[in-house]
Amino acid sequence: MEFTSKLELPVYRGDVRFTSFNIGNYFDVLKYIINNDDIGLSVYFEELLKYSISDLTLYKKLTNVDKFLILLDMRIYALGDFIQLKGNTKESVVKISLTNIKNNIIKKLKNYDLFQFNKFEYNGIVVTLNLPKKLYITDSDELWLDVLDTLEVGGEFMDFNQLSDADKTVIEQNLPANFGSDIVSFVNISQYKTHSIDLIKEMTGAGVKGIPLNLYDNTIFSFLKSIFSDSLAGLYELEYAMTTKLNVEYGRFIKMTPLEARMFINFYNKEQKELEESNNSNKSKVPSIKR
């Protein structure tokens, strides 16, 4: 049984447990980023979440911001809490805590009742809407389908989250157009409310531009891409060091988080340094591994 982390999600309004982001995942993510394959990366993130959460019914209920927070949490535990942002000069580099970003978003979203304006009725048909589910939206067609949450008519109830996109399109082709205006108004209102939440807070002194939380234009996907970006070559170096110098079995290595692997490298380097110091008289050179 794998270790799982727990997070309270503000839009799903419940706890979710998920497994860690490991080196095997990291290799895959970096390859998608290097290939500039946003669609591939978004599909990978969705599959990673499905596997990590392991409850498919629950996964289908998660909105894009819930998924974003889980991936943010995974990133913090796998790669560390801090990122560096460049300001408007070469010298101005600001360290930002991802935990602070995560906690701020959770706190502010918990205070918003997005659901006071998400239920619409016309001619005996009741439709409820929710924030989009997909981390990456390719066009407005997808967005309209993605905010549909439930439908009730003539005693029949449908959960849109359990449907394929093709089935959702068929329903959309038979829903009265009155709901189209409701969708537009829901998107506008929820966008306005979440826009007041900072993803990155503006820091005028350091020349760092603020980024508001926008859930309808792939801002959060782009942010995830940037905080997961790193050197693939560096990861291969880590693999080489762990498997050849520390003799860690490959299967065990790829299941570690990068932070765990780097901890082992640091222990090894420390040990080698102590050995070198104690063997000073022999002047033996032991290779040390730099990261």
């Binding site: 407005s140 029949e156 959309e172 038979n174 829903l175 009265p176 009155n178 189209g180 205006s181 537009v184």
Partner: protein
């Protein structure tokens, strides 16, 4: 809960809320299904088609009219206005506010739809070029033919990624004439153009004397003028459906 169960219930609601729309060419009301979310979305998306959007909008409207019509009977392009406006009113109400950045105008569809849109329909109009034996026969095109010719026109326009506005407007005139010209008679020789391919019809139209083309355009304009008076010049584009 199943897709077919839900669809059946949605169909029941749709069938119970059909709209009667008076069709000028038929002289009687015809039942239509109301607009769907997908159709509204398709209409709004045409606003993003740049210089092609007037054509994509009209063709989207044409397809919606054909899909939502619940009775038999050929509809003509001159029937479009009352159908579009009534479908709009049934889904979104009679007030239309259009903000074109210069001014905001409000239209009341209740007032517009009270008016009668009367055209002088004859099955075929013959226009003769003075001093010649050249006669063109004109008729108002059906919506079905309009869809088909617009489809070909859009395919042609999309081939050229660097198309200019002037090219689009020029081709719009030619294709519009193609839709209205049913046949040509020169002396005793007659050709039914509706049986020819659209590219061939274009070639014929492009070789007609300018004076005749101008007369054809005047005939077409007579319908557009009446539509404009009927609709208080309400713009016929995606803004009509983005409530």
């Amino acid at each position: 809960m199943s897709i077919s169960g839900i669809l059946s219930k949605l169909k029941d609601v749709s069938d119970a809320s059909l709209v009667d729309i008076f069709i000028p060419s038929l002289g009687k009301p015809v039942k239509f299904k109301q607009l769907t979310v997908k159709q509204q979305k398709d209409l709004m998306k045409t606003a993003l088609d740049g210089i092609l959007s007037p054509l994509t909008f009209i063709n989207t409207i044409n397809n919606i009219i054909l899909e939502n019509k619940m009775e038999e009977g050929e509809l003509l392009t001159t029937d479009r206005f009352p159908i579009i406006l009534e479908l709009r009113r049934s889904s979104f109400g009679s007030e239309v506010i259009i903000d074109d950045k210069i001014e905001t105008k409000t239209y009341n569809l209740d007032e517009i739809l009270k008016r009668e849109l009367v055209f002088d329909y004859k099955s075929v109009i013959n226009l003769e070029l003075d001093g010649t034996e050249l006669v063109v026969s004109l008729e108002v095109p059906s919506i079905k033919n309009d869809v088909s010719i617009n489809g070909i026109h859009l395919t042609e326009l999309r081939k050229d990624k660097n198309i200019e506005v002037s090219d689009t407007i020029g081709s719009l005139f030619v294709y519009e004439i193609v839709k209205f010209v049913k046949g040509i008679r020169i002396g005793s020789e007659t050709i039914d153009l509706t049986k020819e391919t659209v590219p061939d019809r274009i070639k014929v139209i492009e070789n007609l004397p300018t004076a005749l083309n101008n007369s054809i355009l005047d005939y077409i304009k007579s319908f557009r003028t009446k539509e404009s008076e009927y609709s208080s010049e309400i713009p016929l584009d995606a803004r009509l459906f983005s409530k």
